[in-house]
Symmetry: C2
Amino acid sequence: MQHLNYDQQENWDFITGTHQSPIALNHQKAIADDNLSTIALDYDPTVTYVRDTGASIEFGLTGHATLNHRKFTVQQAHLHTPSEHVIDGVQATAELHFVHLAADGQMAVVAVPVMLGNTNAAFHTIFDNIGTQRALPIALSDLLPEERTYLHYLGSLTTPPLTENVEWYVLDHAIQIGQAELDKFHQYYRGNNRKLQPDNDRPIEYFN
Amino acid sequence: MQHLNYDQQENWDFITGTHQSPIALNHQKAIADDNLSTIALDYDPTVTYVRDTGASIEFGLTGHATLNHRKFTVQQAHLHTPSEHVIDGVQATAELHFVHLAADGQMAVVAVPVMLGNTNAAFHTIFDNIGTQRALPIALSDLLPEERTYLHYLGSLTTPPLTENVEWYVLDHAIQIGQAELDKFHQYYRGNNRKLQPDNDRPIEYFN
């Protein structure tokens, strides 16, 4: 038996980059897992700032989420267009990411597909106030679907530093964005979606 | 505002290696977190195999654990001597790692400090049967302390591939190993402890 060389630890192989996001998701390949929990979101109905990060338009949120039985604090949300995840072969008009942090540093993203449709007052307010630090009241129902079944897997941030150890909760049900709001966003970003990454046979779970 | 170049994604910086294990832990710097849960272990009192992995002597276990409110399956346990984690400046004689996997691929390790002391019948049985595939009955109370307060942080495997996204639950209370069992282990491994890694200001949590 060849033993690992503990005297030359600096030469050990460090394997990484195998759990990146986004990936193509498929319900037929997903495993139903009743041990997962319903997504409970307790966000405040106020946007705390809106800024251009260089990768998207980001808006601040406060409040909490319960994801897979644990408490997270919501940090911010931002939009990618077109969508980053592809679900059952469908690429949505856009994808809204709600980024969360737990007390132990665990990151989790709730991703919501966005389809071109009716005017969305929340997006209108947000994209009309880029650069503001003023509190903006919004209706959370504009940004979150009522039905919250989801696909779940372990991945990464989709912008540098592409940090792994990110829990993804990708909702099945979409919200809408109006043509005017999409046009406004496209003045800033169009095609700010990272390419699909290899899934490397990661387990994909489904909760409904 | 300089925008991220989505046309040259292959040039994006990928930062990794910042969440490695083991680290030095200190109760005074740990944050108590009542949102964590009691460690509930439901292992079967049987070792399913014992083998020399090249990094330690590993023994198979079956059963489940509830860690931070979620269900994990126990895979195996193995020993490092001396200990890998240093708690409040103390390096134990050895450290026993119980490795767990969740359905979504999340890994979690329960680490138990081991101090030189009384004879330990479970270690005696295990180290006397290296290479066996036979089921070996053991008393789990030999391998786990009754009190299970713990320190919790996010780290990595401590042997190649040094994969990150590993949840650590490092128990405060030690179990004992007899000199004869330790001598037997030292015939195979002595100093199979990875060097301390930078904590990079990761949150360390405490549950009691």
